[in-house]
Symmetry: C2
Subunit: 300 residues, 2 copies
């Protein structure tokens, strides 16, 4: 089993109380791939500009991530610049966005990628996500992530998408914004009624709420005392979740919980350093060690 | 083993999106007692005015709560009027406070109450809490709760108290305000360094974080779709926690987790109706049924 991810590959400038980093490898699909590749073969669908640093490309290749569907577009790479304030690490303040080659991007995928069974539509314009879905040959499990920008400005496309996917991942603010429900359980139920059978609400330090008709569970995140940079934590979570589900090739209650635990554990590493500084060198042994600690922290 | 609680007994007017109630039995010690009395004999130390409704007194008596140290003061009862808005059930907007007999209150306790081993100082002026401590004969386990008002205006008294208690209960906002730490794990650690060996941070729908040198755990709250009135939820939680610890007469990791689960479960009933409309008639059988559901929701 392998996993195809569509999303952004970006150059990130990030400022947090711990410091500042320029031109880091970022983007939803990059963070997702890094995390998911610990469990399964990942095929990445995205676009970068001609200016995209070779070192970032080589780094992804080295991680075993298949770049056959990574397009090098004419123009500049997508850039994001953001800041986190000490008082609220849950909210990224976007200082600048340069779409570059992302503008007018329509995904092209290598023919041998069309029949990949598991798909993750990481955060990117929902119309681009819809475009990819139409190219696929009978996917088995489709996961979807989005963001407030699309919830506010492309709600119709997003709702259309939700009817066609199996799993929807949202953070608490997104879940509330999309459903207009402040109560998260009711929000999760409403999201499920929008289409996806499996709903995963990420709650930052408060962990995860999982909602489906048959399986409902929740647990807090691994306790991190020193958050350095949360950029990509949600994508890293989704990568662990989908990566493990792909490896396990089933979706019973036990597997779903284990997948969410992997996602939470991986996200906890992500926030401890800028960009991928911590996740890039991560081994499964390190992940398992921390996951054991997490289990002991949350077990009854 | 029995349990002594000092705090307020009040008349509450509460407005929420679900409606309005006038002159309800409220106050930190009343909610605490109601909850704790499911597990152990509770002795209440508080003051009410001459105008306090007989029905509320009779109700507490009927619940088996010992009122030998409940003072009837000259003047009016303590009144609180508050509102919760749909968007934020975590924050009570205080519309009016009438201190009445609470002004100048110094607790007097019946002589046979001095040697009660387990004590809970529910939310009330920390100088009154300190006053009670000086009257007690070798208490075994002392719990403490407070609120933002005292954290901001009586910080010195509160810090003095914290050196003398074993267990400190705070909600997340209070924990952050008292420690000036936005990260809750760091806040909990700092609270522990203020004195109390056992720190319990209540996080509303996100449940509880327990922190001591040896034992650390966290779990989310029982999922409630329809919050009606959260007034007293924290006191109800503390009542379940301290009530069970008193009954169990030990404080190992398993007992502490069980106590926090009881507290969380009881608080979930509290928020489902105004005042004590739901908790007043609660049986242990109902509590156990819901606690089983909670355990299945949060177990791995």
């Amino acid at each position: 089993m392998s996993l195809l991810v569509l999303g952004t590959v970006a150059l990130d400038n990030v400022k947090t109380p711990s410091g500042f980093r320029r031109d880091m490898l970022g983007g939803s699909a990059a963070h997702f791939s890094m995390s998911a590749s610990l469990f399964t073969k990942v095929h990445l669908v995205a676009i970068v500009g001609e200016d995209f640093p070779k070192e970032h490309i080589n780094f992804l290749k080295k991680k075993g991530i298949d770049l056959d569907s990574l397009k090098i577009g004419k123009g500049k790479s997508f850039r994001w610049e953001g800041e986190y304030k000490k008082e609220d690490f849950n909210t990224a303040l976007t200082l600048a966005t340069e779409l570059g080659v992302l503008m007018g991007f329509s995904p092209e995928i290598a023919p041998h990628h069309r029949a990949i069974p598991n798909i993750f539509l990481a955060n990117i314009d929902p119309d681009i996500q819809l475009g990819l879905l139409d190219m696929l040959h009978k996917p088995k499990l489709i996961g979807l992530d989005s963001m407030n920008l699309w919830i506010n400005h492309k709600r119709e496309s997003l709702l259309k998408l939700m009817k066609r996917v199996d799993l929807f991942v949202a953070n608490d603010a997104e879940a509330r914004a999309l459903t207009q429900e402040s109560n998260l359980i009711r929000a999760a139920k409403k999201l499920r009624n929008f289409g996806p059978k499996l709903i995963v609400v990420k709650k930052g330090e408060h962990g995860v709420l999982f909602y489906s008709d048959k399986v409902k569970f929740s647990f807090p995140a691994y306790p991190i005392e020193e958050v350095v940079d949360p950029t990509g934590a949600g994508d890293t979570f989704a990568g662990g979740l989908m990566g493990y589900l792909t490896k396990a090739n089933k979706a019973d209650a036990k597997t779903l919980k284990e997948a969410a635990l992997y996602g939470t554990t991986l996200a906890s590493f992500n926030v401890q350093a800028f960009g991928m500084e911590k996740t890039a060198g991560l081994t499964l042994a390190q992940v398992h060690k921390r996951m054991k600690e997490l289990k002991s922290f949350i077990s009854l």
